[in-house]
């Protein structure tokens, strides 16, 4: 459809006054508008899918004039990878909006919260649907501000401290991205990532520095160890809806950016050289370190949200390991080289987003109903909150990588891809073995999480005199709806991954 992507970009911005004044009436109305806009945007992205599947270059593009002096156009595009991530992002926004109605009830300044949620979706979706580097950076920074204020204003405990840490870390990463983008523009004159790919081929020496600057900047957002310090605080102090979005999509945007820019646009210039091989091996090593680090701490952490936060670090480790399996030989033409491992990695971004979103929302539901966050004091909630228990178990098992849930398929694809590569490159043998061991740990912390909170015997028996109001019951219906949306996706991606895998596979030519 004409202008669909422009509308995806503009609708949340145009909706701001409606959301704000709707929110003054009732937060239900504001949430409904945010969810409605996100649903319309999903539909708009879906209208581009036929073009993606049929057009010769396998992508759908829209171009508008923006800053001709800087050779920058307002280029919006989707291909299989962008479209699928954008759809999942919007699904998470819908779930977050539904969840917020009861979860945020009674908090101050709620109209502003919904406005920020709506604005967040501009930057968040914008990152995935533009091919102009300047616009990409625009969106990249744009998602920081609403996130900062949502974490700070509606978070727990010392929320602004956590938000500050989040902002400074990710912004410091972003300026390196800016240096990289600036260098690409200055050396090649290209601001389009596809044009940059061919233009950079002539400057392999500089491409080394550019790829390092870009990847380091994106790794901060991805919270790869040792650049992860901001993540546990930000994720655990943020309101559950924001944690779901942070963990689900915002950090994965870093992974997407590494794939699209570092590997897609810059890597061809250094492919086939020793540096290129070392670079990929370095990604693998950092991936393994992150996976183990995150898993170990998640095993011993006692704060309900910090466990999930560290599990996110572990999963970013998987994704980085998956990205390191990018083919290191020079390839002719095309945007991205898609192997089984890369398809699996992109699919893992999707499955991790819905699973982790669901897990965070379940944890938020638990915290909302029990007003506790130390898992040592919890237990026996399965009888009292059956729906939340079910969703937490499903998401926990998915995070652990057990079939038939979503993450199983993606992890399986990554490992199949890894074994494929081991046949030609023996280096990957040891990291792959380590990653397989790490999945055992992820099963361990997921089971511990589910067992301690829901299944083990309750620690404190409620006094018999406690009145009805303080009895722990299951979440209200609107929160159930939010959980249900994500449960459906976790199960659906696990049993029928074909739609998204086919969509992702349109990008590659291998």
């Amino acid at each position: 459809m004409l202008y669909s992507l422009l509308l995806v970009f503009l609708l949340p911005a145009l909706g701001v006054p409606f959301v704000y004044f709707g929110g003054k009436k009732s937060s239900k109305l504001a949430a409904a508008i945010v969810a409605l806009i996100a649903l319309i945007n999903i539909a708009l992205v879906l209208t581009t899918v036929p073009t993606i599947l049929t057009s010769p270059e396998r992508r759908y593009m829209e171009e508008y004039a923006w800053i001709p002096v800087l050779n920058s156009h307002f280029t919006l595009f989707v291909d299989g990878i962008s479209a699928s991530i954008a759809i999942i992002t919007l699904v998470l926004i819908v779930a977050a909006a539904c969840f917020s109605v009861k979860y945020m009830e009674g908090k101050k300044n709620l109209p502003v919260y919904y406005v920020l949620l709506s604005l967040l979706s501009i930057g968040l979706v914008g990152v995935f649907i533009t091919s102009n580097l300047l616009l990409f950076y625009f969106c990249w920074e744009l998602m920081l501000l609403p996130a900062y204020f949502i974490i700070g204003s509606w978070g727990y405990r010392e929320a602004y401290r956590a938000a500050f840490k989040f902002f400074i870390f990710t912004h410091a990463g972003a300026v390196f991205v800016l240096l990289g983008i600036g260098a690409i523009y200055m050396v090649t004159g290209a601001t389009d990532m596809f044009a940059a790919q061919t233009a950079l081929l002539s400057v392999p020496d500089l491409a080394k520095w550019i790829i390092i600057a870009l990847t380091a900047g994106f790794a901060v957002k991805m919270a790869i160890v040792p650049l992860h310090m901001w993540l546990p605080d930000a994720h655990s102090e943020a309101p559950a809806t924001m944690s779901a979005l942070l963990s689900g999509v915002i950090i994965s945007a870093g992974a997407y950016a590494i794939l699209r820019l570092s590997l897609g646009a810059v890597f061809p210039a250094v492919a086939g050289t020793d540096f290129g091989v070392t670079f990929l091996h370095g990604l693998a090593v950092f991936g393994v370190i992150s996976a183990f680090f995150g898993a170990f701490i998640a095993l011993v952490e006692t704060d309900i949200k910090r466990i999930i936060a560290y599990s996110s670090i572990a999963h970013m480790g998987y994704i980085l390991f998956g990205l390191s399996l990018y083919p290191s030989e020079p390839l002719v033409g095309g945007a991205l080289a898609l192997t089984t491992a890369i398809t699996g990695t992109v699919f893992h971004i999707l499955t991790h987003a819905v699973s982790k979103g669901l897990l965070f929302l379940s944890a938020g539901a638990v915290m909302h109903q029990t007003e506790q966050r130390d898992i040592r004091e919890m237990g026996g909630l399965s009888g009292k909150m059956p729906f939340t228990t079910a969703s937490a178990v499903i998401s926990g098992l998915s995070i652990a990588g057990s079939p038939p849930f979503a993450c199983f398929i993606s992890e399986f694809l990554i490992f199949v891809g890894a074994f494929d590569i081991i046949r030609t490159n023996a280096f990957y043998l040891i990291p792959t073995v380590f990653m397989l061991i790490a999945t055992v740990f992820s099963l361990a912390y997921s089971l511990r999480f589910v067992y301690r909170i829901f299944i083990s015997a309750a620690k404190t028996e409620p006094a018999p005199s406690v009145d009805e109001k303080h009895k722990i019951v299951d979440v209200p219906n609107s929160m159930k709806l939010a959980l249900l949306i994500l449960v459906i996706f976790v199960v659906l991606l696990g049993v029928y991954p074909t739609f998204f895998i086919n969509l992702i596979n349109t990008v590659g030519f291998i």
Binding site: A65, W66, L70, L134, F138, E141, L144, F164, V175
Partner: protein, 498 residues
């Protein structure tokens, strides 16, 4: 359409005339019942005429066929023409004049509400503001070093009247500091200019440049350059000559700080660009890039580090002004067309953003909140003023979608293009520090609990000019092409720049 002497003189003469008329007109205004409204009507008339004059000039200038950029309008063609004042219009003059008059209008609107028109000396304040704008516009329109010097010194020294308005101990102190610095600076510049005149026998921009290119022995020129550069470095607050700026801006009333940062400060960069890029054109005349690059690095570092340790919010913004000088110098140093574009864009955005910040802080200061600790929870007590300050902070920090982002992007990329990657890296690291202290301020504003939760009724009238500027930085940030189109002729007129 041609540009005649009338078109050039019209903005200048109208500004000066209105400035002089302001004092008698305010005698009448004092007798009316609605003094503020009457003052606003008067300034509406003033700016209707001034905008017409400037727009007329701009339209006539942009309608000219493109490869004829410079129009020199000499006042006399006699034998003494080498001594006479020369007016000259080119792309950069028109752009700067447009910017100065627009910003002056907004800051004057703010001053009308901020400096109470019922007060006795208020009309002198407004008159001086108009006169200073006239002087800066005159400096921008001048075509020889002497004319520029006279107009520019009038503007620089005249600013002290605006700083002095409150007439208390601190303002006297900092104004004195400022005047001493300005006097030293003009002495340096005069000496440097006399050397240039001695070397070349002329002061006309183009004649000087031609003569200097032909010069074989450059030792005397280097001496002249050192004096001129030091003089203008003092006036544009380049480290290590920057100490007067934060004090002066913090002690002045906020409307003055806004005006100075947006008009006088940007005017000083204009003078710097005119002398360095247009006349002492590098490599052909003198290669000063490395020296300026080092100064740029120090200015960024010192400005940002001093801002980091400030506790007074107004002083903090004063130090950001110093840091902004550093970013501007980076762009001048790079000497690429993108750098110059970025630089001219930065003039506008930097000026508007600092003016916005000073105006917003001025409103908040008015209720007695001065230090960072006082700003605790101000976001809940004064939501609109805080929102304006937040927007200014984000623009300073270089966050999209505010204008500061595109400005910084262009500045840093131009440094990379000029093979000054180390300067870009320093700039980027300093930019992170800038984000750190700005977000410390934001954290105080929104994250801390205020001493008392009572909401303060904000002065809506003062917020109108504030939000005009806030809207401008968003619009120019989202659509930088609006400004960049105005800058394009400037770039085309500098063929020696790659």
């Amino acid at each position: 359409m041609m540009v005649g002497i009338f078109d050039v003189a019209f903005p200048l003469v109208s500004l000066v005339t209105f400035s002089l008329l302001t004092i008698p007109v305010f005698r009448l205004i004092r007798k009316t019942t609605h003094k503020t409204a009457a003052a606003l009507v008067w300034f509406a008339i003033v700016f209707a005429v001034v905008f017409f004059a400037v727009a007329n000039l701009a339209l006539r200038y942009y309608a000219l066929p493109s490869p004829q950029p410079f129009i020199s309008l000499s006042l006399s063609d006699t034998a003494l023409s080498w001594l006479s004042s020369v007016f000259m219009i080119d792309g950069i003059s028109v752009y700067m004049a447009l910017m100065f008059t627009a910003v002056c209008a907004v800051t004057l609107l703010y001053s009308v509400f901020y400096i109470n028109p019922k007060e006795r000396p208020s009309e002198r304040y407004y008159a001086v503001m108009l006169l200073l704008t006239a002087a800066v516009v005159g400096a921008v329109f001048s075509g020889d070093l002497l004319t520029m010097f006279i107009f520019w010194e009038a503007a620089a020294a005249g600013s002290s009247f605006l700083m002095l308005y409150r007439k208390n101990r601190t303002s006297l102190n900092s104004t004195l500091k400022y005047i001493v610095m300005i006097v030293i600076a003009s002495a340096f510049i005069v000496f440097g200019l006399s050397l240039v005149f001695g070397i070349t026998g002329t002061l006309n921009f183009w004649a000087v440049k031609e003569a200097l290119i032909a010069l074989s022995d450059k030792s005397l020129l280097i001496l002249a350059f050192i004096f001129i550069a030091a003089g203008y470095a003092i006036e544009s607050a380049i480290v290590p000559f920057h100490f007067w700026l934060p004090d002066a801006y913090a002690a002045a009333p906020s409307s003055t700080s806004a005006f100075l940062s947006a008009v006088i400060d940007q005017g000083s960069y204009y003078v710097l660009i005119r002398v360095l890029v247009y006349i002492l054109a590098p490599t052909a005349v003198l290669d000063w890039t490395l020296m300026l690059a080092v100064m740029a690095a120090f200015t960024m570092i010192v400005g940002n580090l001093f801002a980091l340790i400030q506790n007074n919010v107004k002083m903090l913004i004063g130090n950001i002004c110093v840091a902004d000088v550093g970013y501007n110098l980076v762009a001048i140093t790079s000497l690429t067309s993108d750098g110059l574009r970025g630089n001219l864009y930065f003039f506008l955005i930097g000026g508007v953003t600092t003016a916005l910040a000073f105006m917003a802080v001025g409103i908040i200061n008015h209720y007695g909140f001065k230090s960072l600790q006082d700003f605790s929870g101000i976001g809940r007590k004064m939501p609109l003023s805080s929102l304006a300050l937040l927007m200014a902070a984000l623009s300073f920090a270089g966050m999209p979608p505010f204008g500061g982002f595109i400005a910084k992007y262009m500045v840093f990329t131009s440094a990379i293009e000029a093979k000054l990657a180390w300067l870009a890296v320093i700039g980027v690291v300093m930019s992170v520090i800038q984000v750190a202290y700005l977000f410390r301020l934001v954290n105080y504003m929104y994250g801390k609990k205020p001493a008392d939760e009572t909401r303060i009724k904000e002065p809506v009238k003062l917020l109108i000019p504030v939000f005009i500027l806030a809207g401008a930085i968003i619009i120019f940030g989202l659509f930088p092409q609006i400004v960049l189109n105005l800058i394009e002729p400037v770039i085309r007129q500098l063929p020696f720049i790659p």
